[in-house]
């Protein structure tokens, strides 16, 4: 056996034992009562050391390595754009529990309006309008919103006569929502 190989095997064996020792120590900590916070401290301390010892790497080398770890995924093709009311949907926004949605074109911009209720205050009805990025028809931006000040339950779109949407609240009250002005009016 070449000396180089012997050195590598010996080194690797030693490092494996050291690694196992570290794992056992952390496992021991994890299993003992009350040491959960210490486990976190130990992990972060190890990471601080690792950070301090990190060697410089070439950017091209990093790119090459990371690219090799990407999953091969086919390019996504969005389905055709359709308009109207949609049930059973969820919104690409935080803080809104959706009842239903309306989708259409407003002043040349593709938009989706979501009716529902604030997810952290299930009495406050809300409507959120999202615009759709034209080139990709996928990326979204929040365009505007409306809040029911009476806070008596979730909102739902009933029908559309653009730019006016008819809206119902959980307690039976009805409203109109003007997509252009983003105003919610009791009808």
């Amino acid at each position: 056996m070449k000396l180089k190989n012997k050195v590598f095997i010996t080194t690797a064996l030693g490092l494996l034992l050291a690694t196992a020792g570290t794992g056992l120590a952390l496992t021991s900590l994890a299993s003992s009562n009350g040491d959960k916070n210490q486990l976190l401290n130990a992990r972060e301390a190890a990471r601080d050391l690792a950070t301090a010892q990190a060697p410089a790497r070439d950017a091209n080398e990093i790119r090459k390595l990371l690219d090799s770890y990407k999953y091969p995924i086919p390019e996504y093709s969005p389905p055709p754009w359709t308009t109207g009311l949609f049930e059973g949907v969820d919104a690409p926004v935080h803080g809104l529990k959706v009842t239903n949605a309306w989708q259409g074109v407003l002043s040349g911009v593709k938009v989706t309006a979501y009716a529902g209720v604030d997810s952290e205050d299930l009495k406050t009805g809300r409507i959120v309008i999202i615009s759709i990025d034209a080139p990709h028809e996928l990326a979204t931006l929040v365009e505007g919103y409306a809040v029911d000040p009476e806070a008596l339950g979730a909102l739902r779109f009933l029908s559309s006569d653009q730019p006016i949407l008819r809206v119902a609240r959980a307690d039976g009250a009805t409203f109109t929502f003007d997509l252009s002005t983003r105003t919610l009016t009791r009808s």
């Binding site: 010892q53 410089a56 390595l65 770890y69 969820d90």
Partner: protein
């Protein structure tokens, strides 16, 4: 899982230097266990880190710009870690009934629009976005420079009733372990963790717990997930201390004080990165921490604090925007309010990932 490990091992074998460096770090970690005797101290606060709601497909230039801003911003001079959450949508399977922990069939809504709704995005797709972020962060400015450690958190929510499951949690764990391995392999300053925006107004407790248990049970020692949802518990400071069975959140959700404790800290891999957007959130998390001590004998340790300043500035629709704390306020108020040795390594502020029209699409 075993195939992945074999593949990774071959990669290590192909680059002895990289393997030796990784192992040396572990040796150092073993030596550092003496650190356990010393309580951790919160670091001096710098500027806010950024976290993002991820829209997909996102022009590559947008992600690159943000990764570079995180790395080269003044916050990078801090000694504490940088916390960046890439927040995707609701955890769910590609098709109803998928129970296997497949990283191709499990994923999240991904904030990708399809006819009024967000489309499914697999964990494999999300992993590729994370790899892109890591690539941009590590190579920003040309050649690599040493920077403080990065905690990259891949987050999903419990937004869809009946849409979260144990299998989904297991699949997310597999992706996180793979990404964390890649990060450590390539650069020892990068660490990838799981994240859950568990909101009590979304899926009921039983399903949310299944998701969390799936992730936590599959975790290796030292793996963590960060809980940063709204815990929904009573927020009045004048009320007495929480009791175990006290309801949190809407009626019928099944959340209690003990349930929130379990999700945030009770499970093996769980640590809170609390959403402290305003005074109500601060009171809720302070009282949950008190409960953790009285009921379980241990003060809950917080990873970092989460604010939503940018989210409120760019797309205001959240009730928590009223009376919101600034990122600095969030960190300092939480640090002052909680008891014991709260850790609180850093802070991060979440908002939409800014859209730019130029560049390719991820």
């Amino acid at each position: 899982m075993s195939q992945r490990r074999e593949g990774d091992a071959r990669t290590i074998g192909g680059d002895v230097r990289r393997f030796l460096l990784l192992a040396l770090v572990l040796v150092s970690a073993q030596a550092s266990l003496t650190y356990l005797a010393t309580p951790a101290n919160a670091y001096t606060l710098g500027h806010a880190n950024r976290s993002f709601y991820v829209y997909q497909p996102m022009p590559l230039a947008a992600l690159q710009a943000q990764a570079c801003a995180v790395k080269t911003g003044s916050q990078s001079t801090r000694s504490a870690g940088q916390y960046v959450i890439l927040q995707f949508g609701a955890a769910r399977a590609a098709n109803t009934g998928v129970t296997a922990a497949s990283t191709a069939e499990q994923g999240a809504t991904g904030y990708r629009k399809v006819n009024g709704s967000s489309a499914f995005m697999s964990y494999q797709e999300m992993a590729n976005i994370a790899v892109n972020f890591l690539e941009d962060w590590l190579t920003c400015g040309g050649n690599y420079d040493r920077v403080p450690k990065l905690h990259l958190i891949i987050g999903v929510s419990n937004d869809i009733p009946n849409g979260v499951s144990r299998a989904n949690g297991q699949a997310l764990q597999e992706i996180i372990q793979r990404l964390d391995f890649i990060g450590t392999l390539i650069d020892q300053t990068v660490f990838v963790e799981g994240g859950f925006d568990f909101e009590v107004g979304y899926a009921p407790y039983s399903q949310t717990l299944a998701e969390a248990q799936g992730f936590s049970d599959a975790a290796q020692t030292g793996d963590i997930y960060n809980y940063y949802g709204n815990n929904g518990c009573a927020s009045s400071t004048s009320l007495p201390a929480y009791t175990a069975t006290q309801p949190c959140g809407p009626t019928g959700g099944g959340y209690t004080t003990e349930g929130i404790y379990t999700l945030a800290y009770g499970l093996r891999a769980a640590y809170p990165l609390p959403q402290v957007y305003n005074q109500s959130n601060l009171t809720q998390w302070t009282k949950i921490q008190q409960y953790s001590y009285t009921a379980h004998g241990l003060y809950m340790t917080f990873i970092a604090s989460l604010s939503e300043n940018d989210g409120c500035e760019n797309g205001t629709y959240d009730s928590t925007c009223a009376g919101r704390f600034s990122p600095d306020d969030t960190w300092s108020r939480l640090s002052s309010a909680v008891a014991g040795d709260p850790y609180i390594d850093g802070e991060t502020d979440i908002g939409p990932l800014p859209y730019v029209a130029a560049g390719g699409v991820i």
